[in-house]
Amino acid sequence: MSIEATLPIGPYHPALKEPEFFKLFLDGEKVVDVAIRLGYTHRGIEYLAQRKTYNEIPFLVERICGICSNVHPMCFCQAVEEAWGLQVPDRARYIRTIVGELERIHSHLLWAGVAAHIIGYDTLFMHFWRHREPVCEIFEVLTGNRQNYAMNCIGGVRRDIDPTKHKALILETLSQIRPSLVRLEKAVTEDPVVRARIENIGVLSKDQARKLCVVGPVARASGLAIDVRKDEPYAAYKEVGVDVKVLTEGDVLSRTLVRLLEALESIEIIRRALDAIPQGPIRLEPKQIVPGDGIGKVEAPRGEDIHYVRSNGTDIPERVKIRAPSYMNVPSIAPQIKGASLADASLIIAAVDPCFCCTERIAIVDVKTKRESSVDFESLARSWRRKNKHR
């Protein structure tokens, strides 16, 4: 087979407004292969985390991702709590669950809106985002911020949920958006035009999904029934329970449905958690730093997030390893996109819900002596500084 043309997409993805480079190899309209290049938004977060104290790191890892900004600090705190042998108070576990599920709703609705926009259905995009908005407003009331909530700290959470005022607000908002979500799900599944655009597109078989170790909705849409909330219950998921949504077709339609069904399930989880939340303290003050290893795992909206922390007894961790879900999911684009039409490529890339901020967080600081070789950016910065010296 001869490759007739190569088409570069990126480093700025046309739909996702985030940098990642996809080089598509084409035979006419058909995609033959894809080469993916990362590395455009490295921020050296693992490097930084190994130079900050335990109290500072939750705020640092919160900035890995602007969409699932509760996931990383929760995951890091769980890893440290495991290494130090801390038992988080019950009320804090419930609050973590509620915040985590609210985040899942807004993240899934954000993705669904972007997907609707890519297929050219902007009315649906606006409807999805209209119902995401009240969830962000809940966050503003609960935490003071629409994103980057800073709710987690080692040993618990930083803010309480008011049992009357906040609870009433959450329940009322959820009961308002629930019927709309059911209606929007129908708009996706019953509209023949939308269906034609996403059904049997970007298929990932169960076997491929297992070999590539994909996680989250991508895995669950391909028939792998894996969900950290169910398999290894953290926070309060053991008590409140989770109904894991699994579909088998493995196409973009399945991934869409899994996410929408999960958003609906999240509403039920929050209701159960608000009913059962116990009274008590929300934070445990750690008494001492214990050397040891800890692994934190959280089911982010995009799948399993895992943090590994090695504590050496000082107030700075020896090693912090972060692996966000998109890191496992993005490589699965290659088998999905081979053989697809060029027109579907953008949707297929978007359908794994790739979070490039999450994928690219390590490396690149320091090394003053070598800076002369890394040319353009630095010389640009130098000339800027020269120019602005007298300001």
């Binding site: 290894e232 692994i295 090693r319 490396a363 690149i364």
Partner: protein, 145 residues
């Protein structure tokens, strides 16, 4: 017999003297220490027989050596089995497992790029994260000296 005990027994019998020891924090976390020559057999056992999924690989710089932890998740049991091995810092190298488990592709390249541990037999060991003009012998997460 608990699932961890079952897993450890299986690995011990397959790896023989390449198996060193194991420890657990609780029923959901097992750390299995092996010699680095055993990693490919270890991955085959975990992936084929225990349905494990490679979550990630963490490398830790210990000044004269690297500790490398392969975190495998066994979802049905809610268990993370971390396979720990060491390689000396001088000419650090490990056997690649990408041909057995394609998911290791990016993870191994990341470790190779950031720590300078060579993964022998990797099908596409090129750059993944650092920029094109990043020097070949500089590793961002490796400690100096």
């Amino acid at each position: 017999m608990s699932h961890i005990a079952l897993l450890v027994e299986k690995l011990r019998s397959v790896l023989g003297d390449r198996f060193q020891r194991y420890s657990t924090i609780n029923e959901r976390r097992a750390y299995v220490y092996i010699r680095k020559e055993g990693i490919r057999d270890c991955v085959r056992v975990l992936f084929d027989q225990f349905g494990a999924r490679l979550s990630t690989i963490s490398a830790v710089d210990r000044n004269f050596k690297f500790d490398v932890l392969y975190h495998f998740t066994i979802d049905q049991e809610g268990l993370v089995a971390s396979v720990c091995l060491s390689t000396p810092k001088q000419a650090a190298s490990l056997d690649s497992v990408t041909d057995i488990l394609p998911a290791a592709n990016w993870i191994e390249r990341e470790v190779q790029e950031l720590f300078g541990i060579k993964f022998v037999g990797h099908p596409s060991p090129g750059k993944l994260l650092t920029s094109d003009d990043w020097p070949e012998d500089e590793y961002p997460l490796r400690r100096i000296g």
